[in-house]
Symmetry: C2
Subunit: 329 residues, 2 copies
DNA sequence: CTGAAAGCGCTTACAG
DNA sequence: CTGAAAGCGCTTACAG
């Protein structure tokens, strides 16, 4: 690999001058610069970024910790982060936890070892003092969801409001038995803002939430299919509407409705969450809660980069969800 | 930030010994090691990876160039690559071109500047001599698709066979007017192996391909919806089956069929491509060509890492597609 | 088993 | 405007 001394040798200038030309230092004449650039081109020389990093420039790499790359929600978030970061010279390292704590640990180590300039975490398992310190130092930004106790800053949308509005919509359409389908464990419900929004709307209509109508741990399309079976097993008591915290699970339910000739939305209304592309492709189109993923991604990228470069933090935009009404409710 | 000299100072050992303890060198006694590790823990010390890199260890970073992160096909490929790479200590930098050549250029520069140990490219725009040199050197591995002229090694499935089989299936079901829906530009058809497989099957049944039934540049769900309109506009001549080189586009077509009460597969049969999760969620389930994405990702990861570490290349597995028959054909 | 010193490839304060 | 030299934080050949 060619290095800076090769360029110095070839041009007759000192290493110092080559470095100054590369870094566009004013004290190098244009003629000198041109000669140097020509030589660099000829030698196919590129500065070794690792050496530059050791001299204080960062890695220009931001890690983004997500649970699964194959989850479209994260994919759209990463897309927004990547575009914003690219503009200012940063790239994204994709870090999926697969919900394994050792993976999260290793990713945080990457930050400590300075492989990464900063870290965006969409989930947080390890809230040890060291991690908290990194959050305080601005090296880690937590975004989207965190169901823990600690009082840490979190960039997120108002999820409670989102489900409140969706549930309210169903209620206003006359539904009274509304089920709740979530990917979370049942034990998490107590601290889940989405569940709280659902409960609040029900209570405003004088309805006590029925735990038989809550379906936890539903994550995939085929979970959705089996959820319909569970719903039907409730007989007379079964819900006439479902708030489903995942478009994918909702799509599984809808598909099964077709198979069993259950009319949507007449017999069963369905609202999804996220407004993934699939929502538009289904028939009937899936009514769903659109998250401001793009805005959130852009903001969180701007925030971590401001932290890395010790600049003043940008102002948080309003992160509003929106109920997109299509055919299923 | 704590550095190795801080650990040396605290323990009273030399920097050399600390380094040796970190790198598990045999000439350090276990008692010494323990003392050193305790001090490291106490100081929350992590070796600066950048300095280590400069001493010859790579960045342990592999770039993966894809067109769009939001495309599920790439998402599944990245997932497979990530998992295989993680096992052996590498991480993935996600590099989306958005089909802009400057982006591709910048990503290749990252490799030249040694920000990346290797590069997996799922598309290749710039086949300049320098890039070819990097491919020959094993620093770049090209995977999936390349519609260029150059004779470069490419890891890929037998796409011609895949579309041949899908088309053959439609023909054997009695369809004779089979349309072809692709994301490529029409001008690319001549070098597109997928199109060749389609044409070959038709010819075996004595059918001349009809250019009216070829729909290029269809990339999105809403492209799919408008494609049905284009199909219907053909009147008597319209196809009774469609081979669609994208599950997403196929889902758009199917959704529009529901809207216009066109029976699938009776009036119009549809075959997609990729077997994305959406295929299973649609009604009827989408018959589609499943690609061996996992196998391809694992192999390409193993290959680039073998190159990086100057080890012998693993053997290429068979990369077979499979027609998944569901309800649309 | 241990340490002083050279060196990885750059940047930059200092001196000219 | 230019260059010799120090130094970023490590690893390792060399000497003991």
């Amino acid at each position: 690999m060619t290095k800076i001394s090769d360029v110095a040798e070839k041009t007759g200038y000192s290493i110092t001058t080559i470095s100054r030309a590369i870094n566009d230092h004013p004290y190098v004449s244009d003629k000198t610069k041109k000669k140097i650039f020509d030589a660099m081109k000829e030698l196919d020389y590129y500065p070794n970024n690792v050496a530059q990093q050791l001299r204080g420039k960062g890695t220009k790499l931001i890690g983004v910790i997500i649970s699964f790359v194959t989850n479209p929600f994260f994919t759209y978030l990463v897309d927004a982060i990547e575009k914003a970061a690219y503009q200012v010279g940063y790239q994204i390292v994709i870090l999926q936890t697969l919900e394994e704590p050792e993976r999260e640990k290793r990713f945080i180590e990457m930050l400590k070892k300075r492989q990464l300039d900063g870290l965006i975490m969409t989930s947080l398992d390890d809230d040890s003092p060291e991690v908290l310190k990194l959050i305080e130092a601005g090296k880690i930004v937590v975004c989207n969801r965190y169901l823990g106790e600690q009082n840490i800053p979190l960039i997120h949308v108002d999820e409670k409001k989102a489900t409140y509005e969706a549930t309210y919509y169903l209620l206003s359409k006359g539904h009274r038995k509304i089920g709740y389908v979530t990917g979370n464990r049942g034990s998490m419900l107590a601290v889940d803002p989405r569940f709280k929004g659902y409960v609040q709307a029900l209570k405003e209509f004088g309805i006590e939430p029925n735990s038989d109508c809550v379906f936890p741990r539903r994550l995939t399309i085929s979970d959705g299919k089996s959820t319909l079976t569970d719903v039907l097993a409730l007989g007379e008591e079964r819900p006439d509407a479902l708030l489903v915290i995942s478009d994918e699970v909702a799509s599984g339910i809808l598909s099964q409705c077709h198979l069993l000739n259950i009319e949507v939305p007449e017999t069963l209304a369905i609202i999804g969450f996220d407004d993934q592309p699939i929502a538009e492709a289904l028939y009937p189109g899936l009514t769903t809660v659109k998250q401001p993923i793009k805005e959130m991604g852009e903001y969180v990228a701007a925030l971590i980069i401001a932290n890395i470069e010790h600049r003043k933090q940008p102002e948080m935009p309003e992160l509003n969800t929106k109920l997109i009404i299509r055919g299923t409710a």
